[in-house]
Symmetry: C2
Subunit: 216 residues, 2 copies
């Protein structure tokens, strides 16, 4: 599949590398066409890996993965261009963390709204699926690195899009019963508002190598 | 131990019944001295169970457990009286849920503050420990009703108070490694902001009989 990744940070790189290793064609997009980190990543990943602007990556992808920081996600998507996003699946991995007021970060949007919902509102024909954002990117692409079962949440308004994302997650090593569907995109609020707890757990464990499980 | 419970809802009753069954003397406090639900509870629970006003319960308890709804917790504690709370351990179970704008509820305080922190600020000599609030009350008092390990978070500024709460949790059936210390009382933010996710999970499972675990 052709996949466009927005954002050249650790999350974008990690997901891009995993997707490349699974045989997908991946274009990594950033503000400039020749982002240095994206260029290094392309060199490491061979023929199916490419780089370009946010618009190039969005145009290229059947699926778009938003790996930009939450605070710049809307501006990145604006640069990606409405036409390039029309009708497409957008996987939103972003967390709207605000580090500007010191630690711990607060959320730029929460409680009555969320980044996932804002993206869906801004691009109503796109099929936004919120997932991945509740764990370290090393766990996203290697769920079996933890001992035992744990969960990855997904939510969105389009069940076909969620099925596509489910298939992608399964190809990453997630088992079907670990993929927890929370319903429509308003559940993004819950996915994003768990970040303050996640950060405290990371602080206590001094490691991001953990994830939530739901025990019944 | 003498324990004062503030709030006669399902959470207060369930915790009170468990504490009574473990041999503690429990006074259930409410706005009025003769709350009907508290009276019924006392009849069911025998000689060690009693009822009274918020002030009566707070005066009685070596440990106070705030089981009032988050939206009225501060006013309930005001009625309990500063003198009756002085230097005591306050276990804060409250969730600042606002149902007034319909479902799903939002939080009356979040992101930059929390109910646990507000209580600690209002009663600086009290030792506030936030715990219990991330699960159904049936799980609080019967952790072994779920299959496998799961976690209960606690946070607070006073390590002695947290040790006391830990002992109480262990007497409820929680194992030592299931009691997850998140640090100081500012972690209440994380504990309370997980509620929107918790509510969506409950909606998807159509049951509150679940809890979070941390998988490493």
């Amino acid at each position: 599949m052709n996949i466009g990744i927005l954002g050249t940070g650790m999350v974008g790189e990690t997901l891009g590398t995993k997707l490349d290793s699974l045989g997908h064609r991946v274009k990594m997009g950033s503000r400039t066409a020749n982002n240095e980190k994206a260029a290094v990543w392309v060199k490491k990943n061979g023929d199916n890996a490419s780089l370009g602007t946010f618009a190039d990556a969005a145009k290229f992808g059947e699926i778009i993965i938003n790996c930009t920081k939450g605070e710049v996600s809307l501006s990145a998507l604006k640069l990606a261009g409405e036409d390039n996003l029309k009708g497409k699946v957008i996987i939103d991995v972003s967390n709207p963390l605000d580090f500007s007021k010191g630690m711990p970060p607060t959320l730029t949007v929460s409680n009555t709204d969320s980044m996932g919902e804002q993206i869906q509102k801004n691009y109503p024909t796109a099929k936004v699926v919120k997932t991945f954002n509740t764990m370290s990117c090393l766990i996203m692409v290697n769920p079996r690195s933890l001992s035992g079962s744990h969960v990855i949440f997904q939510c969105g308004n389009d069940s076909g899009a969620k099925d596509k994302v489910r298939d992608l997650l399964k190809s990453f090593g997630w088992s079907d019963d670990e993929i927890f569907d929370l319903g429509d995109i308003t559940a993004s609020r819950g996915c994003e508002m768990v970040l303050p707890l996640w950060l405290r757990i990371m602080g206590a464990l001094k490691s991001g190598a953990f994830n939530f499980n739901i025990v019944r």
